[in-house]
């Protein structure tokens, strides 16, 4: 019974969105009224540009942000985990401070940057601020994972004659797969949900990512609020994330709890 309540508590809003997305707009004021319809989805998918464009944009930005973040965070975390204790502690504190820095304060400066360096309206350029903002947290996560790997494993590889990249590629990174997966997902989620930077850096409609696109759909009319379209967009926008979560569930959970169980 308690489980059922908990399930309803977490899944309720999602189910309600799904329900709303399948109803005609005028039926939403009264429960149960009206028939089922795919009209909301049809409108979205055949819109100009079609909703799929936003999805693809978000996937592109998410993937490039994730790749960039990991490419920078892995070497940083490795270096931090192999430094002397005192240096590592000082640098880790710095990284933690960066992770705690309120991103809102960077907002105007970022806008200036976009203007001066002509980064506006370029999808891939968005991954620069995204990677920058996610980097501290990713470094901390990966550093903990590196620290969990016994030093002897790397030393054994060293004696076997493996160079730095070989040790990373064949020994360390495979052992860090869970931490890599959870860091990647955090970055991807951040980029997927990020709104203010995307809103200000992108102005051309066909380049919009999901968050600003949804806002545009919601605010497209002054007279009515298109509940149905919003609900359909929410369903379509969260589907890829749910899929990702289901695919990598095991890695992510073991990555987030890694230090806790291995001791």
């Amino acid at each position: 019974m308690a489980r059922l309540l908990l399930l309803l508590w977490s899944l309720g809003p999602m189910l309600w969105q799904l329900y709303s997305s399948l109803k005609p707009s005028e039926a939403l004021s009264g429960l149960g009224a009206g028939g089922w319809t795919l009209e909301n989805y049809r409108q979205l998918l055949q819109g100009d540009p079609p909703f799929l464009t936003y999805l693809i944009n978000s996937v592109v930005v998410g993937a490039s942000s994730t790749a960039l973040t990991l490419a920078l965070a892995v070497p940083c975390a490795y270096a931090l985990s192999r430094l002397g204790r005192r240096q590592a502690r000082a640098l880790t504190a710095l990284v933690a401070a960066a992770a705690a820095f309120p991103a809102v304060l960077l907002f105007l400066a970022l806008l200036e940057l976009a203007r001066d360096w002509h980064l506006a309206n370029q999808l891939l350029a968005l991954s620069l601020p995204y990677a920058g903002l996610c980097l501290p947290l990713a470094i901390l996560l990966l550093q903990a994972a590196f620290a969990d790997i016994p030093v002897e494993l790397e030393e054994a590889a060293l004696i076997e004659g493996m160079g730095l990249w070989q040790r990373l590629r064949w020994i360390l990174l495979p052992l860090m797969a869970p931490a890599m997966a959870s860091s990647a997902l955090l970055v991807f989620l951040f980029s997927w949900n990020e709104y203010p930077i995307a809103l200000t850096w992108l102005s051309r409609t066909e380049l919009l990512t999901l968050a600003p696109a949804m806002a545009r759909i919601a605010g497209s009319s002054v007279y009515t609020i298109p509940y149905g379209a919003c609900a359909a967009a929410t369903v379509l926008g969260s589907a890829p994330l749910i899929l990702l979560m289901l695919l990598f569930q095991r890695q992510i959970i073991s990555g987030l709890t890694q230090g806790a169980i291995k001791g």
Binding site: E152, L153, A156, A157, I159, E160, G161, W170, I171, P174
Partner: protein, 350 residues
């Protein structure tokens, strides 16, 4: 004694010359010099923190030497990275790659060094057969027992055909019975490689049972180097005397000197018995006995000299006892420095 005591520059084994490692104000290894001949097993023995593992890491190239020289097969390897030293090392934790199968644990290094597939396969088959691991090829380390993991770690070292074998407490993760059984097997295997072997342990039985010669280390300094028998019968100082032998050597004060009395060289008789010529004796009370099966350790409380441990075949019957020993059997140490005093005992033969 099998180890050559002198070694020229053409010496094919391992040679350490004045090797030191200092970290900050700490000296982990202090001016260590020794040689290990091809086919010889040398044990580095000492309590934890004595510098034995630090020495091994220096030889492997995992830590840089502060001064001194390491020679292997006639060439100076002091400054070479681990990969170029041709050494193999078995770690205390075995350091098997947990995500790789037994087979891949052995072959990964060879693959990355660019060895041919056929060659790798041949070496794999050979070593897996030798170590009786054929049935476990596809297992992951987590699916192996402690003894099997040790065999995989040894196999991974063997397959490289190293010029030098380093082992860091390879038995410490095994239970006592398995350890006893494996000692002779491991010795045969290591001898068969024909390369110098350096074996780190804190267990005197392991060192005595496995090694041709033993180095006792304390605070990074060499205390004594020799065969197990030499170290036991003719220890250079009190530290070596105390470290080898169980039960531990008895120490009694004689002014500025200390007598070291091996428990098995003490005799028990009834209190008040006449003391023969050339013997010395103390009187005391039996406090308790430990029965070992074939022998008994009697703890005899001797007034101000403290408790003496006596190892004998038969348990004493009375409780008022005389403990006596041949004067020639007593080891004499300087009470202050612990150094052995000259002429104290004649090498004993049984």
């Amino acid at each position: 004694m099998s180890g050559p005591m002198s070694a020229g520059d053409g010496f094919q084994g391992l040679k350490l010359r004045q090797l030191s490692r200092r970290v900050g104000s700490h000296t982990l290894v202090d001016q260590l010099s020794l040689t290990v001949a091809p086919g010889e097993i040398l044990a580095l023995l000492g309590p934890s923190g004595c510098g034995k593992s630090s020495t091994l890491r220096l030889i492997a190239g995992l830590d840089p030497a502060s001064s001194g020289e390491i020679q292997l097969g006639g060439r100076n390897i002091t400054a070479l990275p681990p990969a170029e030293r041709q050494v193999a090392m078995v770690f205390q934790s075995y350091a098997l790659f947990p995500h790789l199968s037994v087979e891949r644990n052995l072959s990964l290094g060879m693959e990355l060094r660019g060895m041919g597939r056929a060659e790798i396969q041949r070496d794999l088959d050979q070593v897996l057969a030798l170590m009786q691991l054929e049935g476990l090829r596809q297992r992951k380390p987590a699916e192996l027992s402690g003894g099997q993991r040790q065999r995989v770690a040894l196999a991974r070292a063997l397959i490289r055909r190293p010029a030098l074998f380093l082992l860091d407490e390879p038995m410490s993760n095994l239970d006592a019975q398995l350890r006893d059984n494996l000692r002779a097997e491991l010795r045969t295997l290591l001898r068969s490689t024909g390369v110098p072997v350096v074996y780190v342990t804190h267990d005197q039985h392991e060192a005595m049972g496995l090694a041709d010669r033993i180095v006792v280390l304390r605070e990074g300094r060499l205390q004594q180097l020799g065969t197990a028998e030499r170290l036991y019968r003719d220890p250079a100082n009190r530290f070596v005397a105390r470290f080898l032998g169980s039960p531990t050597v008895n120490l009694i004060e004689r002014g500025t000197t200390q007598l070291g009395l091996r428990p098995e060289l003490l005799e028990l008789t009834d209190a008040g018995s006449p003391v023969p010529q050339g013997w010395e004796a103390l009187e005391g009370q039996l406090s308790h006995r430990e029965w070992l099966g074939d022998r008994v350790i009697s703890h005899v409380q001797c007034a101000e000299q403290g408790t003496l441990r006596v190892l004998s075949r038969e348990a004493p019957i009375s409780s008022a006892l005389q403990v006596r020993w041949r004067q020639a059997d007593a080891l004499r140490f300087d009470a202050r420095s612990g150094e052995r005093l000259p002429g104290s005992n004649t090498p004993h033969t049984e």
